[in-house]
Amino acid sequence: MHEISVVRSLLSQVIEAAQPIAAADIRVIRVALGPLTGVEPILVRQAFHNLKNAAGLIACELAIDELNLTAICIDCQSAFEVIDFIFRCPCCGCNSVRITQGDEFRLVSIDVNEETPVIALPDQAASEFAYESGKHE
């Protein structure tokens, strides 16, 4: 999709969330990336490499946890992995399923140099999982 703008947004959110820690003291950015985001991990790594220095993240690496696409059957409640984007419950065969993981690009954590001041970050509540959750209200 639009990895450059997605990564630019990621980096500015990292720097904002890390304050007062300086960008140069951020060592690792860990993200979780699902297949239904339309965001390609290889292009994300490339974009990160190209944008990090300009953002002041000179010593920073990017760790990407590539997530599986998983869902839960609304009828029989069984949880399963969605393979080849076929959203059908392998247990009861019904196609009324809710995505539980894999449609999000999430900033998980950052690793910072220990000698930087300790700050208390609010544990941001996970915003809605599925894009779909906003619909059919």
């Binding site: 999709m1 639009h2 997605v6 947004s9 990621l10 959110q13 969330a17 890390a18 820690i21 060592r27 690792v28 993200v31 239904l36 985001t37 339309g38 991990p41 290889i42 790594r45 490339q46 490499h49 000179i58 010593a59 690496e61 990017l62 760790a63 990407i64 984007f85 076929i86 959203f87 059908r88 019904c94 196609n95 009324s96 399923v97 999000e104 690009f105 999430r106 900033l107 998980v108 954590s109 950052i110 690793d111 910072v112 140099n113 220990e114 000698e115 300790v118 700050i119 970050l121 544990d123 941001q124 996970a126 915003s127 809605e128 894009y131 779909e132 906003g134 619909k135 059919h136 209200e137």
Partner: protein, 255 residues
């Protein structure tokens, strides 16, 4: 809990599976690092803005439909046929997106209030453009607002435009194998319109196959067969729109 990463671990972690140039690992000395949990959806702000605007539409009684498809699948023709069908009995408006020209707005202007959104190259509409177009419409109390997205089955799938329903069009001239190739678009849609059905006798397009393919991805998809040219299916489509609006109004009363 503090994590200690050696430079080599970091490099392995970062390069895993990718073709990245080597990181500047010399900068990472043996200082101890500490992990700060953040756990934030990168798109959270954008999603919230769309949800807020959607609530505003619901309160106003405006059902918003985001029409998506490949270029040339018949989005504008569908809107033309819809406006003609209602013939002023429903208050509708259209925001139509294209990379360039006002052609679609000019086509629709005789039948419905319409504003053209030109992206100047961007391959999808974003919420800001929709808000700008909204401010230019003559009224605010429409029963139905249609957003005709840029013809593209990829990027528009990732952009919530504050719509209540996303409707994807597949025309009989573009092949019945589209849903499986663009799963996100079909997964995030609530209805699929098979358009240009008047051409079915002349093209190798299997309606049953496209419906099965789409429902493997989105089992709840409502499906309509439409010929905007001849009017086939327009009644059922307009009935569906009315039902969706009633559903939205009932949900609004409950909240």
């Amino acid at each position: 809990m503090s994590n200690r990463h050696s430079p080599t671990e970091l490099i392995e972690e970062t390069l895993g599976g990718g073709s990245m140039p080597p990181p500047e690992s010399t900068l990472i000395q043996d200082t101890i690092s500490r992990t700060v949990q953040i756990n934030r959806d990168i798109a959270a702000q954008r999603k919230q803005a769309a949800a807020d605007l959607r609530s505003q539409f619901s309160r106003r009684g405006t059902l918003v439909i985001n029409l998506v498809s490949s270029p040339g699948a018949g989005k504008t023709s569908l809107l033309e046929a819809t406006a003609k069908h209602w013939a002023g009995r429903r208050r509708m408006a259209v925001l139509v997106g294209d990379i360039a020209t006002e052609r679609d707005a000019e086509r629709l202007a005789p039948f419905t209030p319409v504003r053209q959104l030109t992206t100047g190259g961007a391959c999808h509409l974003e919420l800001e453009l929709v808000e700008r177009g909204l401010a230019q419409l003559p009224q605010a109390d429409y029963e139905f607002l249609f957003i005709e997205n840029i013809g593209n089955l990829v990027c528009p799938a990732s952009h919530d435009l504050a719509e209540h329903r996303r409707v994807v069009l597949v025309s009989t001239t573009e092949g019945d194998d589209k849903p499986g190739k663009y799963p996100k678009m079909f997964r995030t849609s609530q209805a699929m319109l098979v358009t240009k059905t008047d051409l079915l006798p002349y093209v190798p397009f299997d309606v049953q196959a496209v419906v099965e393919d789409a429902r493997r991805i989105q089992g709840q998809l409502d499906v309509f067969q439409i010929s905007s040219l001849h009017g086939e299916g327009i009644d059922a489509w307009c009935d569906w729109l009315e039902q969706q609006r009633q559903q939205m109004l009932r949900a609004e009363v409950k909240t």
